[in-house]
Amino acid sequence: MLRACSVLLLLGALAALGGCATAGGNPDDPLEGYNRAMFKFNDGVDRAIIKPVASGYKAVMPEFARTGVTNFFSNLGDIWIGINNVLQGKPRAGASDFGRFAINTTVGIFGLFDVASNAGLDKHNEDFGQTLGRWGVGSGAYVVLPILGPSTVRDGFSLLVVDWHGDPLWYVGNIPTRNELVGTRLVDSRANLLDASRLAEEAALDRYSYLRSAYLQRRRSLIYDGNPPREPDASSDSSSGVQK
């Protein structure tokens, strides 16, 4: 349901793009008006429901148990990560991801322990949006998705239309069990972000533009696996007139 709504919203956002001109704002964010409203909505939901639940979860669950939960979901994600690495022409990285899954599912007891990391197979971060980026598809406008948060037209479509199919949780036959798993994963990942979100709150003058900038930089870096080429234009102007 949420997914369908999000896809519709994205389509709407795309349609709106045709008609709206940027008014001196950030060229990556022509939908700033809508985005800020959605950001505020998400923030409200987070404050009212998700963050309190995540804080409670963190307070109640001992750390080793939370790590186990994080590892369990992380392990399930490694197959899709591996497939994306292969799609991006990085078979070696993909093989490492499949190896991680094999080791952690067996030796790591259904993924509860991340023994593969200790064995030198590092966790990767890939998704279909990055694969499209690698293939040369531009990110399109910045879009804040309901509940899911910062995204772009490219990444949002990838997440809602493609990545979904690579997510094992959605193949769980029993619907209540599936929903419980998806909910637990959401709470677990929010709990892992409690420190980071507090930091962002402290650091930002305007949280919306701070997080937008961070998201866009982060995605760009991920697409190039941490080595993005220097920004081509003058908007990232160098240190002109610097006092040393």
Partner: protein, 207 residues
């Protein structure tokens, strides 16, 4: 007496040369080791005493940062629009904000391991990037890269990039918007307000 003076001069000189000669990656490693060592052993810091972490950052980390350059980078194309007095105020306020943020990040430290990647630099380079990776069990490693420049006073950090996100240029959008809407003084005011509210929070929070 003259000999004593000579010895003092020599040791001062040796000290200055020493600071300049330290390779950029060795410098970052030394600071990280030192700071993490203190964080691990200090009970107050472990308990989340922000004031004490601030002091630590002030004493050990800040001398190796070039805040003038950081501020200029964050402000970007509007930097020349600020007069020298405004530039100085901006640097001071931005410095306070970054220290607070940096201290906050340090206070969440939990036994992560920092790995240094080989430094790609020619002997004559004056601008290098020191690449590190922070490894946490069960999660993808996070990269922390330090952009550094060679100055008369040794190598100085002018940007810190965490997981591809520059702590400095991440402010540029906000700063541009502030200056566009309310000028350089408007930005100074926003920064000052932010810092004041952070200070008040730090004072009331027992944590």
């Amino acid at each position: 007496m003259i000999r004593l003076l000579g010895v003092i001069c020599f040791s001062l000189l040796a000290h200055a040369v020493g600071a300049q000669d330290v390779a950029p990656d060795a410098l970052i490693k030394r600071i990280s080791d030192e700071v993490i060592g203190i964080i691990k052993s200090d009970k107050d810091i472990k308990a989340g005493n922000r004031a004490k972490i601030n002091d630590l950052v002030e004493a050990k980390v800040l001398p190796h940062f070039n805040f003038a350059r950081m501020t200029a980078l964050a402000v970007g194309r509007n930097w020349p629009k600020a007069n020298p007095a405004q530039q100085k105020t901006l640097v001071d306020e931005f410095r306070t904000l970054l220290v607070f943020t940096y201290s906050g990040a340090l206070s969440t430290y939990k036994n992560e391991v920092i790995e240094f990647k080989p430094l790609h630099a020619a002997p004559g380079d004056t601008d290098v990037t020191v690449r590190t990776q922070v490894k946490r069990p069960g999660a993808e490693p996070v990269s922390i890269d330090y952009s550094m420049e060679k100055t008369a006073g040794g190598w100085k950090v002018y940007d810190v990039v965490v997981g591809g996100v520059s702590l400095v240029t991440n402010y540029r959008d906000t700063f541009n918007a502030e200056i566009r809407d309310s000028g350089v003084d408007g930005l100074i005011k926003s920064l000052a307000n932010k810092n004041r509210s952070l200070e008040n929070q730090g004072g009331t929070k027992s944590k």
